[in-house]
Structure formats: C-alpha cells, structure tokens
C-alpha cells in the first residue's frame, strides 16, 4: 500500500511543484524514467511470483537508472548519443513488455 501511495505522492509533487530540470541532466531524465519503469515492472512480477525482495528491488532500481544514464552519457561522448538512447529504450521496452506479459498471466491466468 505504502509504495503505491509513494508513487501517487511523487506524481502529485512533480505536477504541483513544477521544478525545472538542470540542462545537463535533461537528455538523461527520460532514459532514467524508462529504466526505473523496467525495474518497477520487474519487481511487480517478482512480487507476484513470491520472490520479491526489498533489497534486490532497491539495488536493481538504482543500478538500472545509473547504467541507463551512463550508457547514454557514454554515447553522447562518443557522438552516438541519439542512436544509443534509442537502443536503450528498445531494450528496456522489450523487458517491460515481457514483464507485463508475466504479470498478466498471474492476474488474469491468461
């Protein structure tokens, strides 16, 4: 229950406070969000499988975000930032789809 409340609180805070994103971080924010989404769906699947662990979730969440941002940063330095962020989005998208498929099987048994 508390995690869901946290998610809602975060969305509300983001909408109400209207902070600005520092310019150097702007290219990485969307990638970080998608990476975090991947971690969240993975956690939800693990939870339904009964193998969820707080520690594993926290580590996977943080490492997902950091690695995704790092890959994009590296791409930017090499001059292939655009292509590399597209690649990261594709990989994370595939992972999210497979996780959601597993969740769907749990919830709807189909």
């Amino acid at each position: 229950m508390i995690p869901v409340l946290g998610l809602v609180a975060g969305v509300v805070a983001g909408l109400l406070l209207q902070p600005t994103v520092p310019v150097p971080l702007q290219p990485y924010l969307p990638i970080a969000v998608v990476a975090a989404l991947d971690a969240v769906f993975g956690a939800l699947r693990a939870y339904l499988d009964g193998i969820f662990d707080d520690k594993v979730f926290v580590i996977s969440f943080v490492s997902n975000v950091v690695i995704a941002a790092l890959i994009v940063y590296l791409g930017d330095q090499l001059g292939v930032g655009g292509q590399l962020s597209t690649g990261v989005i594709v990989v994370l998208g595939i992972r999210i789809f497979s996780n959601v498929a597993a969740i769907r099987r749990h919830v709807f048994h189909a």
Partner: protein, 240 residues
C-alpha cells in the same frame, strides 16, 4: 514454484507496512516525480532544450539549407518579374506605336471618319458639263495643296484606289453614280485649299468655262463621314 509462496495483487495492496516497503515507496515516489516532471518539460519547452548538440547542429544545417533554397528562389522570381516588366513595357510601347500608325493608315485608307479644318467646295453644274477629267483635276489640285481626307457629295470617300469614270453621261466614282451639284469636302489647311481652287486657270476657271460655278467655304471643323470600302490586296504581297 511452490503454491503457498504465491501472492496476489490484493494482498500486495493490503499487506502491512515495513521499512523495506517505505524505501520502495520512496523510490517509486522518485520515479513518479521524474516521470511527471519529464512529461511537463516535454509539453512546455518543446524538443529543443533537451536536444543533443549534434541534433541541434543538424537542425541548424537543414534550416540554413532551406533558407538558401528560399533565397535562390526569391532571386529567380525577382529576375523573372523584372524580365516580365521590361517586356510588358516594350510591348506596351509597340502597341501604342502600332495603334498610332493604324489610325494614320485608317485615315489614309478612308476606313474611319476624319475631322478637322478644311474647305467645302460646291460645284454647280446645270449643264452636266463637268467631266471625270475635270473632277480628277480638282482632286489632284486639292491633293497638291495638302488635302488629307476628301469626300464627294457625302457619299464617296476619295482614297488611293478611287477611280472616276463616266457611264451614260453620268459621273461615277468607284462605280457609284454621283450627280450634280457636286460638293467636295476636303480636310487640310483651309487657306491653302482655297487658293488651290481659285488660282487662275484652276478649277474655278475651268468650271466657269463649262458654264458652271464654284463656291468655296472655309471651315474650322469639317466632318468627313463617308467611308471607303476596306480592301485586302489580292495580288500584291509585301516584297521582302
């Protein structure tokens, strides 16, 4: 997977809080915050602030190229415009000249009415003694004096192709009968034309010798309304 360890979404939403859950909540809060922020930034600022340097340079380049193309097009169109204006002016001048020439030629050919100062010459010929030769002489005298448009009896316009003949004792001009008294309207310098009629041995003397009389009336505004038939040369072609 062992059945007892499986949990449901319902139990996930109703389980009791723990420290681990609080940490998860914080992370999820951060995710929601970042997602909301990113959506708002995307909506508010468009694509340029977050774009990469390479993308921006590409955008600039394409804009430059489009700009150059547009400028080239503007130059071409302006050149075309100038050319068109020049040719329009030239053709307008040509048209004006052609119109002026056409009206001059129309007066000479007798296809339009003419107006101007001139003389009205009345030839009374009770004995019908005035012949085609006399009439032709009169016309020649008037032409010599600079008559520009001549008509006889308001019905026959005298032009280059005009011919005088006598048929059954009646004077014909271009095949049409003309009966006395003859009235010759001639546009030109009135004084000069009067002199041309009245000089010794001229038209006046000639007609008087034939038993007729001639009166000359000078006028400032004479209308020559008779028109000559418009003719297209059938045999003569412009020589190269």
């Amino acid at each position: 997977m062992p059945e007892p360890r499986r949990r449901s979404l319902r139990s996930a939403l109703t389980s009791r809080p723990a420290w681990g859950q609080a940490l998860v909540a914080v992370l999820l809060g951060a995710l929601g915050f970042a997602a909301a922020l990113q959506v708002r930034v995307n909506d508010a600022e468009g694509v340029y602030p977050g774009a990469r340097r390479g993308d921006l340079i590409e955008l600039l380049d394409s804009l430059d190229a489009a700009n150059a193309r547009a400028e080239k097009q503007i130059n071409e169109l302006e050149t075309t415009k100038r050319e068109l204006q020049t040719s329009t002016t030239a053709s307008q001048t040509a048209l004006l000249e052609a119109r002026r020439e056409a009206s001059t030629l129309a007066i000479l050919a007798g296809t339009v009415p003419a107006r101007g100062p001139g003389v009205v010459i009345r030839i009374n010929d009770p004995e019908a003694a005035v012949s085609a030769v006399t009439m032709l002489n009169a016309i020649e005298e008037l032409r010599d004096a600079g008559a520009e448009a001549i008509e006889i009896n308001n019905s026959a316009r005298v032009v280059a192709q005009t011919y005088f003949a006598v048929s059954d004792g009646t004077l014909t001009i271009d095949g049409a009968e003309v009966r006395p008294p003859y009235v010759i309207d001639a546009v030109g310098s009135a004084a000069t034309l009067s002199v041309a009629v009245g000089f010794p041995g001229g038209l006046q003397d000639e007609v008087q010798a034939l038993g007729g009389s001639v009166t000359v009336e000078q006028t400032d505004a004479l209308d020559v309304t008779a028109l000559a038939e418009e003719r297209t040369p059938e045999y003569a072609q412009p020589a190269p």
